[in-house]
Symmetry: D3
Subunit: 308 residues, 6 copies
């Protein structure tokens, strides 16, 4: 009884009023009459699980499926995710319109986008099969591509990326970014949905990888944890605002390997077949077949004690 | 039937008995009669979701809210989270008492703490609005502060931190730390709840960022992934035990930018308006307006093959 | 009504057919008649929660337990998790058999494995108590081992690892890896289940830590965020395929401390009691008591402006 | 493995095809192109729970509400149920239109109906307070109106009925009937939503009560289990079809008591203040103040054995 | 804290021990070594929901289905329910075997039963369409067969019965009875799964209807609430035990109507086209076209007051 | 978008205000300052499921239990339900106190009640075993007592009753009544928790059975559907209020059978071994061994047509 009274008088309506005033002020500052309605991260996470189930119905969907029933499962899961995704797309299209950024509008309706999204799912599955193959062949610890599929965070990241990149290209940068962040949260791998990535792509371990918006990655590229493909600097316009959309991230050609901790910055090109060593800091292009590593071993030995 | 018998005789009561003995021994070693009861991470995660919904009811709460209904939603969500938080606070206060660390007790009752926590929520919302503004202006890829709010892990981290820091200051270091770890798990950004952080704070990408307990960060500071604001070394007392609570982390003044991978250690000061370059290792103070970057490019080029 | 018709004609059966063809082709390429059935990550996550509850029933299980009821809770939770784990083990054993990798088969039945797994749980609890002790003593911010247990990601990681390593040794590398990845996703700490780790192990912060399959870590070792214990290079056989299973990761002897960002590669030995400084890159063995740090401070100071 | 094959070949696609043919044939027989979309019983059950919570927030909603928070709870629950009900109303209006029963259309939009529904909720609460009062005073076993509210099936039935009758009057006979059946299933009391019922209404025990569509019940009426207020016979038109909508059920005036098992059939009137005894079969009107009971005791006594 | 201690010492292990002794004694009394494992009512309820969804996918399954997606939904729901039902069937077959009632065994395997069950689903749908038609035509309050499908408890009862009767005929009397009781609980209509019921069957209101195991009901029969088709008496064998399985319930021929409360007992025949009036008590056969009603009106009138 | 605006302006705060006024008025009328807090039906339903699981752990709890694990399951389920029940008991005790009905207070604390409740659970199990035996022997359709346990609504009703009666005797009439109504809703059988019922009790079919508060039923009694053991009339005091608590329901001695639809009213005694026929109306005592049935067959035969 006494603990109940504790909560009876802490001034809830004052607090509600203060929060309302802040919200109104914030809307006013942004020149909006109404708060925007945004896609839901939780719903997108559900959709992503269903896309995985559609692409790999036995291994990531429902293992009890028989040969007779599998297509029914795929079809009904597809139907379900398309319906959910349709609602999210409509939210983003309405939000985009409310921003008055006309240049963003590519004229596609929600139905058009859904149609094109669905039509690309087989292509995504084919690409992911090449990614699985690359991981299996690239990691001495992997015993089968099945193990790669259900264990490797790099596969989670590239699956989300391939879907996010498709939606990004269809005019849904917000949903695409939310999907990328779902993968980032689960894996520590941060790939901007704008990045273009070829087939047979493999990220091992992955924590701390960052791949920027305008990066272009060729086929059969392998990347290790904590690699950054970033921008060297941000350009500003005359009034001091950041220039958006310029090409500022690296181009990585086919068959490149980049070892853990390497930092590659700016619109430079890493030539076909190159190898970039661990912890390398690289800000200019290198030709095909280059092997870059740190210039010197950076440690000394002390036999005696002493703090670090 | 046969698979059932498999599980019938694996010695469950022996195992239960062994585990009981270990528990009793562990309690004895710690001089406790009863095991402690601790706040629940799951409940705290629910509370955090509700705080987010209260602060941003349309965008992080329930998008269907009308102008007419929004205050009801805010009020009932507040009421709910305050009640849940009250129970968690009582658990921590009882736990603290059982530790006999009298110095921790600031004399605030659970009801006092709740009252002060609730009263600060508008301030937290105002600070978060400045953080959103900073992210929008600091990232060329951001199209709106709404996108920042629902996508950026740095916003997740600073939202949790501002709440955790408030509770830390109210005498709840355990709950505060648990909240910080919820954000750490979701974002890879590890901010100790003791750290003091000013307005317009922005962490981009974020994976691997570590900010220590006694760090002080000014206004308009921007930090990239894998930055460490750490302690240089841990001091020990005469008997070899770690000294707890001394000031051992950096002070970062207003308008500083720290690029990815920089490691800044010890109670040093980064002067107002400085820029710290990527991967820099810094263990002493730098004055206002300093621009620090790596002394030399650390790579060589090889045209020929060869292992890395 | 109109929005309904939008979704009525996007060609679901064509799409289902295309996906079926890709699946059949993929199976054919792998020489399989049927898709494999694999253990479930969601079920394993549930099992892990129950193992935590069995090992620490009050603190990680159900805080309301009385002295009278706790053994009942432990017993019934054990019974439940053993049953769930049994099903997952059978899935992996059948999967392994389908791979025709005979060398993987150690002849243990699911029931044998369960029996041995259960019998080792007390040992795991005892080891985890030493890990809690190490964290409490090693972190100036920790006030009690309870706080460590419910807050520290390093404890999550080592708990999962000790369970995963046990199952790995019992012939379940797939389940073991899935458990390791559950911890990796939650903490950013990536420990291969094959790694051998002694008692009193402590990882602080942890994001970005990678510990490889054949690493051996002694007792009382402390590791900070972003440390890599990796392979220097991968060996290939005459036909260009990776050699699997060779010893390629470091041995870290007792009482070693490795600070944040250090990269230690290859089958080298870090001698007992050594300290490896932050960001050090180390590819050869060092003797007992070594103190390794970066050869030079790598920054310069500029008073004038200029981009980084 | 073997049990899996059992389910692999039972002809799912044949069966799906047969069911499809039956569905198409059924639609054809009914002259429909598309199957109708109908309101959802599960959603209506949720809405009813919320209406109960709005009307009695402490006792049927959430007992932890404080004086300060209760209005927020009521407001947000109202907002929620109105939104859910809006969707259900739109489903029924579209369904009604598809039936081409123009006479059913009262021209009210979903928004109109919602507005009128909401406006009547205070009246419904006031009526239910009279029903609670009647039950408390009419049952020697009742200790408080609170006990009546949370225990008595008659209260469940009349609560559902008052809501269903309101919606019935607003042109939603299908939703109204579904709500009536939710109560029927929970209580065994079957009240058609068309029935008009005055204040202070009390049904005790209730199982088997049936009250027909055109029944009119005055104020302060009390009814026991297994009472029927039914139609005597159904009229047919010249072509042999049932005439729908004619007045065919009893009128029960104020202050009438009807004991268990009484059957009252046809458009007759039970005069004000009458008492109808248990198991009575009544098919013609009785004047005010009548006391009707069975003409004779219908049993004999046998001392000797013998089957019944 | 104090409330916690309340629950610490109420003697849980004594109580567990007493309950164990009772269980062991009960098993001993029944000559069993192990307790039986039985089908699960909760799982059967889920299966029934799925059967309804398969039979009426738009109206009782998922209203959002498009023409394109409906077959996928039907197929995957079928696959799911067949799998769940298979497990329940195996439980009953094992239970039956443990009873040593050999006569119950019809030699059908679980797979056989599933096959035959699935094959009969189209027939059940066709029968239910006739039941819907009968209800629509027989109730002046019904506006469409859709309304009947989603509202009428008689349809719930006959749907469950047709499924239960099919399983009863396939040698699963326990599952059949559990299904019948699920409907009984929801509707108050108690139909033994052994009863044979023709097409166009309609029960109105239904509460209190009881139809016995060996009853046979023709086509186009209509029954109202509280009708009993029961046994007149139970026969015993020489040792005083009940004789099981003899034909002891009525035969109701085609086109019969039985009004509310009629009690019809024993292996008698109600001739084709007969009408049985409300509350009639009938224990011998009547010929075709009979119209039976109560011999006299059973009430008197009193103008004066007086208790009943 | 347009549908959204529909819900934006329906006057939620007016409505909230009106409902608040009604609530305040209702409290005032009842002389209360605060609304009462009542036990929760949903929680009680969960508790009842757990009691069933404790009493019959394999058959109503969890069928996968092994001999080794069953006691752990029983113990932990007991612990859980006792804790939940404790909270509900405290709610009723506080509610009773707020009613100022001092006579209700038997001086037992919540802890006392829990202790006594737990101690009686073995007795309840023993009684239920006799009820199962009676059903199995009394119904020709029953094949085993297991079938009776999982199918028969009479068993659901008597299980709830035995628990409710125990709590009723311990001073918890409100919780007892709520439990009785849970069973009433599920089975159509309405037994007041005050009724005293002996062993080997069997209700067949059950819908419509009503057993009053002061009824006393001996051992080995069998009752069929729609039987009423009711009060003949309610006594009023001089001011016209109902007298509460007087003995007004029948006494049914050992070995009595009462067939369907019989109505037995008033504080009369049905002598040992009597049989009461179907639909009999009985308001005075009958001696031991009586066989009562309806005096005459109440129907006539008509060959010709004519409405009923």
């Amino acid at each position: 009884m006494s603990s109940r009274s504790v909560y009876n008088s802490w001034g809830i309506s004052d607090l509600v009023g203060q929060l309302r005033e802040i919200r109104h002020l914030a809307l006013e500052n942004r020149g909006r009459l109404d708060p925007p309605r945004l896609p839901s991260r939780k719903v997108l996470a559900q959709i992503l699980e269903k896309v995985s189930a559609v692409l790999f119905p036995n291994r990531l969907g429902f293992p009890e499926l028989s040969n007779e029933s599998i297509d029914y499962y795929v079809g009904t899961t597809l139907d379900d995710l398309i319906r959910q995704l349709g609602t999210q797309i409509e939210l983003e299209l309405a939000f985009t319109k409310s921003l008055n950024h006309n240049s963003q509008d590519n004229g596609l309706s929600a139905a058009d986008i859904l149609q094109q999204f669905a039509a690309q799912l087989p292509t995504i599955r084919r690409l992911l099969d090449t990614d699985l193959q690359a991981a299996y062949e690239g990691d001495p610890a992997a015993r089968s591509s099945d193990e790669v599929l259900v264990c490797y965070p790099g596969i989670v990241a590239i699956t989300h990326h391939r879907i996010a990149h498709l939606l990004y290209g269809l005019g849904l940068p917000l949903i695409a970014r939310m999907i990328a962040e779902i993968a980032h949260s689960a894996t520590g791998i941060d790939i901007h949905p704008g990045a273009q990535i070829g087939d047979h792509f493999f990220i091992d371990h992955g924590t701390g990888v960052v791949i920027g918006e305008t990066a272009i990655i060729g086929n059969r590229v392998r990347i290790y944890q904590a690699v950054t493909l970033g921008a060297k600097r941000f350009l500003k316009d005359e009034s001091g605002h950041l220039l958006k959309g310029n090409l500022r991230h690296p181009i990585v050609e086919d068959d490149v390997v980049i070892y853990a901790g390497a930092t590659i910055l700016g619109r430079i090109t890493i030539g076909k077949g190159s190898t970039i060593g661990g912890n390398v800091w690289l800000t200019h292009s290198v030709g095909p077949g280059s092997h870059i590593h740190q210039a010197q071993v950076r440690q000394e030995f002390f036999d005696a004690g002493g703090g670090i």
